[in-house]
Amino acid sequence: MDETRLLSLEGVGRQLPSGGKMLTILDAIDLEIAEGEFVAVLGPSGSGKSTLLALMAGLDRPSTGTISIKGERIDRLSEDRLALMRRHTIGFVFQSFQLLGNFTARENVMLPMELLGRADARRRADDLLASVGLAERGHHYPTQLSGGEQQRVALARAFAPKPALLLADEPTGNLDGATGRVVLDLLAEMRASEGATLVLVTHDPAVAALADRRIHLRDGRIEHEETN
């Protein structure tokens, strides 16, 4: 067994009911991702990118095949065990930011660390906010922040618990070009300093160009892979 393998998918398929029949979203995906790797998943709309990401995070369950993280099967875990797995192992960045509206920026960043019971949550949250350039904005609520600022808070939150695996779903999709560029640079920077494995879903080839490996999806299947 490969010592550095973090995530592995074997024969993973996903069907969803649609209009009375089953629609195949993903089919026979075999994929291995090593620790520390930066993988971009590319493909047109409806190719199954987001579903693949959801399966990797245990947000969804495969119809067929197995998914393992650090050698442990996650496709048959209970909702509770899946939640604990995400808490300890996975960080998220979403296209639509998904900050909690009732929490301040700092509280959003602190949340994953508080779930882990970390005593230094507040200090680390301030450090992370400083590293995304929002040191002075910690007490603001999401609605008081611009889109770019919200996504930077989301980045800080994603890295906060030192996740082994960071999953990003079109993180620049809702941002203009310049702002998106800033967010991507921060993402790459933080990945380097925090040392996380990164899986990034995008349909922007320029974004994907930063990755170590690019996986191209089409109609729920891996069309081809490229490595830098």
């Binding site: 939640a83 604990l84 995400r86 808490r87 998904q98 909690l100 509206g101 009732n102 509280e107 019971g117």
Partner: protein, 847 residues
């Protein structure tokens, strides 16, 4: 701790929701606290004033003069003092004028109370002039209630005829410590001395004297001393089944247990409003969580476990419930403080309601429990929010196990039963209450669902724009109005149903008596007076005059077993049976039975060699005797053995003279007796007859049935007021739920208003569209509620009270219109914010 912090953060921005959630609970908790607060204040007052209410440390009471052995036992107690009290009803009149006018003066049925020197030992007797009673009363002077002066047109210093003897009114009495609840009395008070009562000769006649000896023990007597004294008196009582001994430390056990029964009934009515509030809580929690779905999905994606999501929102629900319940408990206490002034005539004592911590804690606990019970289902649904919602908003909720679904319903039912049992003090009543509630709710919900579905199918091509939009809004799926209709309908059902029942009872009591029923009862007629009394009746135009002789007796033994043993046996199990065994029995002799008597077992007067008795069927069952049994009566000290030869049924509703016990003619010939009579008289003739009889036969007491029924109706209506007052809380809870449902849809409504305005509707038109929708909600709830109320009231009236049903369409219309008006007002008030939005601001937000 960190979960608490998280809960507090997640709570922000939900303040709008708090008001309705809290209001739903507060209304119900207020009702519960008002009932139990008032009741415990009453109980505390009675306990605190126990000696004043008894006017003594202990009292010995009986229907016969208190035996010398008992008096000797009292006198044997060191430092004890005693005073004699005799009470009896009698008709009194003004002294006829000396102007030669032969018309008799006005008369009034009054309650005589003869008291010895020293009365009362405790408590305050309020007289005017304010002098000691001993100075006001003597052989020729009495003190009367102010009401008596008004009714007879007399003044202090004028004369009063009692039992044919003349007295002078020395003053008035407005309060006695040991006379409670003037509503329950049959006439104004006349206080006189024992010597004065002897002068009237009334105590020796008839049967309705209540003898009491009040005992005062030396100051510093402890409850233990009191118990010792009571025991030594009790040991001197030869016939304990006929003598009551009451001590101040027992603090009016009969009164308190009666109040306890009232409290348990009202407690259930109050609980109903709390449970209706529970529906509102469920709705509020559901609406609140619906707005938190995205946040819950993010939390789940970040690794929060389902049970932690549950705990998070459970904590917030509990906190809100606590706030609402505390507010309700405070409001309930304020209500309880206001009640004594509203129903002063009904309450036996002056009650000052302070803060009732136990009632408040109990109310808060019930409010919290009900909120969690009803919030449980939506809270469990929060666990089902799929984390993948962060990526796909249309994701299906996580599956819930069928077992859990059943379990949740069972917990809800068990919880309702438990609270109802706690409120009513009985598991059986708790079960009946929850079964009734479940059936009523299910029927209401089913009917409301049907109506809403039918509305949705109704053709909308006719009618005004506002009506069509109103109908469409009512039928819109997920509009949240179904719950409001059910809640409001339950409230209407409670209030209207209770009112209909009480209204029917009052109307029945007030209605003209049955055609052949007598309107006056005459009691205590001496045998030699009957001829004269009968003549007076004929002169007054009385019809259906009926009269029988009555002999008073006490049951001594059944089949050789002394009553004392029977009574002791049954003492713990049923006080009804004890009453049946130990009451003063009225016996009469008849050769043939009245028409409405039907023999169901045995035959009348068939054994030539035995003294026979015929017993009424229910009474025989209570006594535990049947044909062939032998019972012995003690008639003025002489034992008379009677053989039960027949059992018969009696139509009591006829108001004719009827007896539980009819004895074979001849058997009672030598026993002392008096006559009672009934007659039918026009209402206008009743008072003149009473006046004439009072002048000619002062010992005869005239009971006017119309007068008695009027008093019963008065009490019934005051009780009805209390029930309706509490029932109003259920309607209030329903209104709060409607407002909550409307406000939960505020965002959607705001968008709707914006759209309407953009399309050119004026604000007035928008308001009328909404008004039509809320009016329809009120109409459906009102119709379903009143129909339910009629069904409930009809069932209770026909089968519970077994009296005729009558429609009151006017009242039902009033209830309907009131419901519609209330829901329009509440709905529009809750839509106020949505109505003021600017179209552009809303439409720009998009969805």
């Amino acid at each position: 701790m960190r979960w608490l912090v998280l809960a507090a953060r997640e709570f922000r921005g939900s303040t709008g929701r708090i008001a309705f959630f809290a209001a739903c609970l507060a209304v119900g908790v207020a009702a519960v606290v008002a009932v139990s607060g008032l009741s415990s204040a009453l109980d505390q007052t009675i306990r605190a004033q126990a000696r004043q209410l008894l006017a003594a440390d202990l009292a010995v009471g009986s229907r016969r003069p208190i035996a010398d052995e008992i008096l000797a036992a009292i006198d044997g107690l060191v430092g004890a003092r005693r005073v004699q009290v005799c009470e009896l009803p009698s008709v009194v009149t003004g002294v006829p004028g000396d102007d030669g006018d032969s018309a008799p003066g006005a008369s009034v049925l009054s309650e005589l109370k003869a008291v010895g020197e020293g009365y009362p030992f405790y408590g305050e007797l309020v007289t005017r002039p304010a002098r000691p009673l001993e100075e006001l009363l003597d052989e020729r002077h009495v003190v009367v209630a102010p009401e008596l002066l008004v009714r007879l047109g007399l003044d202090v210093g004028e004369g009063l005829m009692i039992g044919g003897e003349s007295f002078t009114i020395a003053g008035t009495v407005s309060a006695e410590p040991d006379r409670m609840g003037a509503s329950f009395s049959f006439g104004p008070r006349v206080l006189l001395s024992v010597a004065a009562l002897e002068r009237t000769g009334l105590a020796g006649l008839g049967s309705r004297v209540k003898y009491t000896v009040l005992v005062r023990l030396p100051d510093g007597t402890t409850p233990d001393d009191l118990a010792v004294a009571a025991a030594s008196i009790r040991s001197a009582i030869a016939d304990p089944e006929f003598v009551e001994l009451e001590t101040a430390s027992e603090a009016q056990p009969t009164l308190r247990s009666g109040l306890g029964r009232v409290e348990r009934f009202l407690g259930l009515v109050a609980l109903l409003s709390l449970l209706i509030g529970g529906i509102g809580v469920a709705q509020a929690v559901r609406a609140w969580l619906a707005g938190r779905l995205d946040a819950i999905a993010v939390l789940r994606a970040l690794g929060v476990r389902p049970r932690e999501v549950f705990g998070l929102y459970l904590g917030q629900t509990a906190l809100l419930a606590l706030l609402g319940s505390v507010a309700g408990a405070v409001a309930g206490t304020l209500v309880a403080r206001a009640v004594p002034t509203m129903v002063s005539g009904l309450l036996p004592v002056e009650v000052v309601v302070g803060w009732q911590p136990i009632a408040m804690v109990r109310g808060v606990a019930l409010g919290l429990g009900v909120a969690l019970l009803f919030g449980l289902r939506p809270l469990v649904d929060a666990m089902r929010v799929p984390p993948i919602r962060v990526l796909r908003r249309d994701a299906d909720p996580l599956p819930i196990s069928r077992v859990l679904g059943v379990l949740l319903s069972s917990i809800l039912l068990a919880g309702i039963t438990a609270t109802a049992s706690a409120q009513s003090g009985s598991l059986l009543r708790g079960l009946q209450f929850s079964a009734g509630l479940v059936v009523a709710t299910a029927v209401l919900a089913g009917s409301a669902y049907l109506v809403v579905r039918l509305t949705g199918r109704a053709p909308r091509d006719h009618g005004s724009v506002t009506l069509r939009h109103g109908l469409a809004a009512l039928a819109r799926p997920g509009s949240g109005t179904l719950g409001a209709i059910v809640a409001l309908g339950l409230g209407v059902l409670t209030v209207v149903g209770m009112w209909l029942i009480q209204d029917r009872l009052s109307a029945q009591l007030r209605a003209d008596l049955p055609d052949q029923a007598p309107t006056v009862f005459l009691v205590d007629i001496q045998p030699d007076q009957w001829e004269g009394v009968e003549e007076s009746l004929v002169v007054a135009g009385a019809e259906s005059i009926d009269s029988v002789e009555v002999v008073m007796g006490r049951l001594a033994s059944i089949n050789g077993v002394p009553v004392a043993e029977l009574a002791v046996d049954e003492n713990d199990r049923s006080s009804d049976r004890r009453w049946v065994l130990t009451r003063e029995q009225r016996l009469t002799s008849m050769a043939t039975l009245p028409e409405d008597n039907v023999i169901v077992d045995g035959a009348l007067w068939v054994h030539p060699d035995r003294s026979e008795v015929s017993i009424e069927a229910d009474f025989a069952r209570d006594l535990g005797v049947g044909v062939g049994d032998s019972i012995v009566f003690d008639i003025q000290g002489v034992p008379v053995e009677l053989f039960v030869s027949s059992i018969r049924t009696v139509e009591w509703e006829s108001f004719s003279i009827n007896f539980f016990l009819v004895v074979e003619p001849g058997v009672l010939d030598r026993a002392p007796r008096f006559r009672i009579a009934t007659a039918r008289l026009s209402a206008a003739e009743e008072l003149p007859l009473q006046n004439r009889l009072a002048a000619a036969f002062p010992n005869v007491t005239v009971l006017r049935i119309r007068d008695v029924l009027e008093k019963v109706v008065g009490i019934l209506e005051q009780l009805g007021n209390g029930i309706r007052f509490l029932g109003a809380f259920t309607v209030l809870a329903g209104i709060a739920i409607l407002a909550g449902a409307v406000s939960a849809g505020a965002i959607r409504r705001g968008r709707q208003v914006a759209l309407f305005k953009t399309l050119g509707m004026t604000r007035a038109q928008v308001v009328s569209v909404f008004a039509v929708e809320y009016a329809l909600v009120g109409l459906v709830a009102g119709v379903l509620g009143t129909v339910g109320a009629v069904v409930m009231a009809w069932t209770v009236v026909r089968f519970g009270f077994q009296i005729a049903w009558a429609w009151n369409p006017g009242a039902l219309m009033v209830a309907l219109v009131a419901t519609v008006v209330m829901s329009v007002v509440a709905g529009l008030a809750a839509s106020a914010r949505a109505l003021t939005v600017r179209p552009l601001a809303v439409l720009r937000q998009g969805d």
